[in-house]
Structures are given as structure tokens and as C-alpha cells.
Symmetry: C2
Amino acid sequence: MKQRITFITLGVADLNTSIDFYENKFGWKRSEMSSGDIVFYELNGISLALYPLNELAKDATVDAGGSGFKGFTIAHNTRSEEEVNTLIQSLREKGVQIVKEPQKVFWGGYSSYIVDPDGNLWEIAFNPFLKMDE
Amino acid sequence: MKQRITFITLGVADLNTSIDFYENKFGWKRSEMSSGDIVFYELNGISLALYPLNELAKDATVDAGGSGFKGFTIAHNTRSEEEVNTLIQSLREKGVQIVKEPQKVFWGGYSSYIVDPDGNLWEIAFNPFLKMDE
């Protein structure tokens, strides 16, 4: 099995609310694959998909009920500590909830967390040990 | 904010159990960034990290409690329907729980779902509309 991921799909309570978050707070642009039922954002070699939570559970043939910590985080790394600060400040001004303010962390990086409308945790961080291609 | 994801981190109940799953069932190889506390798998431009659930919640400054559907799925796409069948059969033989058997689905693809030891849902699918670079 190749070490490959093609999509991360987030099950969302309300598609329009999530679209507003990813397009107006993050400023992302959806890909042409998107429709009125599912929205895709093409990232660095993978896509993030937004799909109604109930439909996602149905597709996976599991119960849609769930609560609390989802047990995963998604990280968006920047090229500097300053870029973390600027991004967090910009998101704050757009009304995004900052869960953890930018701070130096034990592993040597500089990290913060925000949440999307469904409680999905995004880490916004600078990792001095990480090589980023672009 | 660039359309970029650097890491997906899964909070795991037992690191060794999860390592066994990703290395002996999926057959993945960890990257050199890994330590005894956190394990990374380098994928197509992003990395999957395994980190103890309680530590992940602590890092994000949220409560670690949660249950039920986690509201997200990760997709691994193949190049053919046959490849889905072969992969699912191989995973089944290694004791992996198949949540949804491979089948044609409404959007024109061929899809199945499995779970990892923490209930994270992986979709193993062939999407005839998807262009894959490698």
C-alpha cells in the first residue's frame, strides 16, 4: 500500500457555514470538482473535502452520532514565527476562534490552534526543523 | 493563507498498537523525524503523525474526552477497481476490519472503508475522474 493520501473529508453540520469559513476566513478557492453537494479545496498534492456529516457517515456505513474531541488535528505550517502571528491576527479579526495563542512549544517550534465551525482543530505553526518545498 | 496542509495527526490510544497497524497492515515506513513519543509517515507532500490522544488534546489545550463518529475520513485512492479489491483482500487477511466492502457507488467510483485501531475511517477507493500524479 503506497504511502499516499488523496483526500481528507470533513463531515460538516452545515455546508454553507463551512464554505464561508474556508473561503472567507482562510481565503481558499474551491476546485472545479466541487458541486452543490460537496466542495473540494486542492492543496499540496491532496484535497480537502467538505461534505455533510450525515452523508459522510452514511457513505462509510457508520452511525453519525459523536461528540467531544475528534482525536485528530490538521497542521498548516508557515515559514516563520512572524507569519504565525500575522495569520492568527488576521483570522482573529475575521472572527475565528483562537483555541491556543501562538507560543513557543517544547519541541522547539512556535504553535497555535484554531477551530473551524465543526470543531475541527487546525494547528498553525512554525517548525524550524521542517523543510517545505514551496 | 496558502492552500497547504503539512501534517495530519491522529491521536491514538496506544502508540505501539497504531504503529503495528500502519507498519504491519499498511506496510508503511516511518520517517527519520520519528521518536519514541511520536511517529511520522511521509506521504505525498504531507505527513501522517501518530501521537498519544491525551498528549494531542493537551497540546491543543482541549479536553481529551470524545466518542462516536469522529466526523472525518481519509481517502487512499488506487488506480483501478481491481487494485481496491486486492488491497482490501490483503488487509482482511491481516485482520483489518472492513467496514464497507468494495462496491460501485453513486458518484461513479468504486469504494470501501476500513478502520484503524482508534476507529479512524480510511476509504480505499478508485475514482475514474481523479488524475493521480504517481
